[in-house]
Amino acid sequence: MSDRLIYLDNNATTQVDEQVLEEMLPYLKGEYANPSSMYTFAKKSSNAIKEARVKVKEFVNAESEREIIFTSCGTESANTAIRGVLSMNKDKRHIITTKVEHPCVLNVYKSLEKQGYNVDYIGVNSNGELDLEELSNKVNGDTALVSVMYANNETGVINPIDKVSEIIKSKNKNTKLYVDAVQVAGKIPIDVQACGADMLGISGHKFHAPKGVGALYVNSKTIITPLIIGGHQEKGKRAGTENVPYIAGLGKACEIAQENLHYEATEVKRLRDKLEQGILKNIFNARLNTGVANRVPNTTNIGFEYVEGELILLHMSDLGICASSGSACTSGSLEPSHVLRAMNVPFTAIHGSIRFSLSKYTTEKDIDYVNSVMPEIIEKIVKLSPYQDELAELRRRKGV
């Protein structure tokens, strides 16, 4: 329909940075040696992995690069950490996570629950903020593992990992903490030592590396069994010939992201706020689903009352604008987002919730354009709604 492309779905995936691609290319061309090989030809690919490991170590501020394991994605990082730590602590049967976790953690927990684990799912308030008191009450002597995401993929709401860690360790110093940091990498600084995570996972394609590579930090005090068994790679913690070009790309992406954090915190945030305020001011049935919660700088989640999300996305797509929705219809599942349900987003707005997520490539022009067309899109859909009286009342109250 439109030649224009305004990509505001960076929490789903991101554009690969040119410099990342450049870093990868030699290993997709001439430098194809298996890094485990003995000859000099393998030196460059083996060095590429070493260097990338140092870059990831610095990116998350690990104590040693020995604490970094390369994986294929965030989901593999989560599965390795959770299953790996539990199989080392078989006597303990209690595990905790949150109700708003990404499926890569939540569904692992549900599967463990079926296998007989006692699971507590900690709730959030209407802003999406974790109930720390509930967490504190649930940790006990039998708790093997707690998994808490660093920031939520749908809302961008940041969890205070340092406080979470403090609470857990004060109740049971042997309980391990896994942090799914996929949605904060490249958006806010990560410091595993300061925040007290025992394990932490990231995924390359969320911060301008390609899809198919991720990393898992496991501190030296935490022992896990491998998920994938085979060769000696990654010190036996993740077998399989190393994906050299992608690992090199991930290292480069970490380096660039680290340098870019200031831009994220200032420019990306400014554009996000401009978009958010524009929509909330100009569209009468828009509501900010997260209220005043502390969020990553690139994400906003806005509910449009009495209209449905997929239809909003389809009209946006006709104008070349890409975003996501928590509505049931977009996923093929029949229920709206588990995150928005856990937040008790009103049923009038839950199906019409749209997530906009920006990146360093988002321009002022992009945001101005989206702000200029969103009111017409929503008005077009509002006309179809069977809730004309309710909409008129909303319009009157907002005075638009």
Binding site: E308, D318, C329, S333, L384, Y387
Partner: protein, 285 residues
């Protein structure tokens, strides 16, 4: 990304006949805001012919397209012909819908059915009343408590579209698409439709009254109560007289407003499937 046909895209981009008819002769409603899609259809009928139709839809692209094309399909047709339109006709007219979106066409069909149920043809008052009475009784049996889908809707979807699996039924009616508790009940309806029920019935042992009471108690305590507790609800067995089971219910369903009504239906369906198809659940306070 859904694989929508050109016609679906045309209809959600440029929906026809949007709005309300203030002096409509028939109005139909299907779905609800809580469930994520809702359609209201308004008909003007003169001398047994639908002279005008308008719609209001809260829903996704395919829901709007289904509603829009439905109004085009019925304007100018006789009420008699309109009554024959099925969800399959709507989907076909749109050039097909993705399997997961077939329930949008079913919603169009349901709204139309609802409109015509309320419309009393003066020449054929008795027949119309029969339709109302006959259908409304069957409609009471809600199978999917999350989306409020009745046995009748599932039965019709199986019949009209030749559905054979629970997954297909979910795609067409949404039933079983949320908590999934009713999946075995859906399977039973499919089996019944394809005459597989006989075998089960023959094999089922005849229970003595005492055995029956024990079994009901057992199922409520060990199957139904834990399920309800998961959602913050609970059930207490109060009394059993013949096939009448009195229970006290406390429910909190995730989305729907009619949660207590649907809760009762869930309990009843579970007991009917497990113990006796004649069981009636009575809610007491």
């Amino acid at each position: 990304m859904w694989d929508y046909s050109e016609k679906v895209m045309d209809h959600y981009r440029n929906p026809r006949n949007v709005g309300k008819i203030d002096d409509a002769d028939a109005v139909g409603n299907a779905g609800s805001l809580t469930c994520g899609d809702q359609l209201k259809i308004y008909l003007k009928i003169k001398d047994g012919i639908v002279t005008d139709a308008k719609f209001q839809t809260f829903g996704c692209g395919s829901a709007v397209a289904s509603s829009s094309i439905l109004t085009e399909m019925i304007i100018g047709k006789s009420v008699e012909d309109v009554r024959k339109i099925t969800n399959k006709d709507i989907a076909d007219e749109l050039g097909g819908l993705p399997p997961e979106k077939m329930h949008c066409s079913v919603m169009g069909y349901e709204a139309l059915e609802d409109a015509l149920k309320g419309y009393v043809d003066k020449d054929d008052l008795n027949q119309a009343l029969n339709v109302v009475n006959g259908k409304s009784e069957i409609k009471e049996k809600i199978v999917c408590t999350c989306f409020g889908v009745t046995e009748n809707v599932i039965w019709e979807a199986i019949k009209l579209n030749g559905l054979t699996t629970v997954e297909e039924v979910t795609n067409y009616t949404k039933a079983g698409g949320a908590c999934g508790k009713c999946k075995s009940a859906i399977q039973d309806i499919i089996d019944t439709y394809y005459h597989k029920e006989k075998k089960v019935k023959e094999e089922a042992p005849v229970l003595s009254p005492a055995q029956k009471i024990l079994k009901i108690n057992n199922i409520i305590e060990n199957q139904i109560s834990p399920e309800l507790q998961k959602d913050g609800g609970d059930i207490t067995l109060v009394d059993i007289v013949d096939n009448k089971v009195s229970v006290r219910l406390r429910g909190r369903c995730s989305g729907c407003r009619n949660s207590n009504l649907t809760l009762k239906a869930f309990v009843e369906t579970t007991l009917k499937n497990a113990v006796d198809k004649n069981i009636e659940v009575i809610e007491v306070n």
